[in-house]
Symmetry: C2
Subunit: 301 residues, 2 copies
Amino acid sequence: MQQQILVVGSLAYDDVETPFERRKAVLGGAASYFALAARLYAPVRLCGVVGDDFVQSDLERLASRGIDMAGVERRPGRSFRWLGRYNYELNTAETINTDLGVFADWQPEVPSSFRDSDTVFLANIHPRIQLRTLEQVRSPRVAAVDTMNYWIERERDALIQVISRVQIVTVNEAEARQLCKTHSTVRAGREILKLGPRAVVIKRGEYGAVLFTKDRVFWAPAYPLEEIRDPTGAGDSFAGGLMGELSRTDDIDDAALCRAVLNGTVCASYAVEDFSVEGIDRADPAAIDRRVRELERLVTA
Amino acid sequence: MQQQILVVGSLAYDDVETPFERRKAVLGGAASYFALAARLYAPVRLCGVVGDDFVQSDLERLASRGIDMAGVERRPGRSFRWLGRYNYELNTAETINTDLGVFADWQPEVPSSFRDSDTVFLANIHPRIQLRTLEQVRSPRVAAVDTMNYWIERERDALIQVISRVQIVTVNEAEARQLCKTHSTVRAGREILKLGPRAVVIKRGEYGAVLFTKDRVFWAPAYPLEEIRDPTGAGDSFAGGLMGELSRTDDIDDAALCRAVLNGTVCASYAVEDFSVEGIDRADPAAIDRRVRELERLVTA
């Protein structure tokens, strides 16, 4: 049976500045990046919200990639806008401004036609909303959650509750340290596992990612790019490749999780090669497979 | 024939502070760390200099590990002393004070009994001294050089000359970026290769190391430790494992270099588990092999 991937998260316009280039009001948002990566693996259904100002052709662009947009609501008000700036190392985003707009008090309603989805990604949003959304899906086979420092600080209990309800947690290294109050990535990975999930993926940008399960640690390299143009969306594209690969795997064992992490890594590498969703939008399954094989060679002694 | 490893570098006393612990006047220096790691693979000969204040039993301790100390001169004056402090991430050392003492105007004289060494490590020192030392070794099969930001800034031309004369360059990531004026580790690795060496190893601390040769890139994980006590000496212990493994390899091809990087990684992991040389001094060949196999599993999808 064809698997169906559901993503719940933001659709946004980003103003992005790197020390070398800048772009204004380009298509962004966690759900956009995730969906454009995951659709390379299986059909994707998107729940999101946009304001009056969201350009119809941007929604049509996602739909034209086979993404089911039946879960996107249009509401009076402004769309989510993010203004961020990267340092010279292109590894840390400084948020200059966030205007949540209609995203602020959005309560996602999963359309009934989406409720049989088996693979679910809860992109970064209030953990209570993540939980309520997850409860609307009938019997997800595998669900993953992403979050951010803001919720770790302010909604720790709700976040821990979501973590205990999903199979996979993806966090970046700083978030893992903050959540577990330790500098050690190894310790943090093991502590998050104790909260209940089957797997924890700690993302380390250009240093790759580390997967923790009960029985093993898997160290994935990043795809070695000579140039990164815009790191925005790397984490959500990573999640897209990860969940995409899992959606087509019958048995979610450690080997499948490792392969999924490599696929996530490759999707992230495409995302950062260009501004906005341009990089991930250009990727195709054959190109992804080629880079996954390159990653495997990269670590072979 | 039994290979012989020669190291030229500092013997020192370190005052080390981490946010959690501190130690005063403990045995350190690049040559100490290197030699204690490399002696796990083959006989090691050490060229260094100490002052009046260097405790005889520290020299005897190294000698008792089979390290040939015939190249160690004792001179009037103070021994090299370094006072460093680490941040909470335990990844960046702030040098509070360096007192070079007798190391300052030392011109190493390689004893004639050492001049047939086939594996040579030129630890961090003035690049012109590295060059003159290398010229005293008759026909080294493989030589490696390490350096630091100070020489990259002040003695760039001399450093580039040394780099062009050795087979292997080991630098940390910040040094690679500084030397090549690029943030990209991939680009830096390739640019250093163009200067002449057969292999470049860029060390990334807890993120592992990357090896560049003409034909391939090899991404080595760091050994995942839950706790690091003192990062001092990690790079020199790394070099000890790297050159040690190469000293017992007939054909220094890419596969041998990859294995050598994994051995270096493991030696570094022992070094950082304790203050001073205690960690690397406790390692033994069987323990090294076990961790090398763990590293191989760590990256196997």
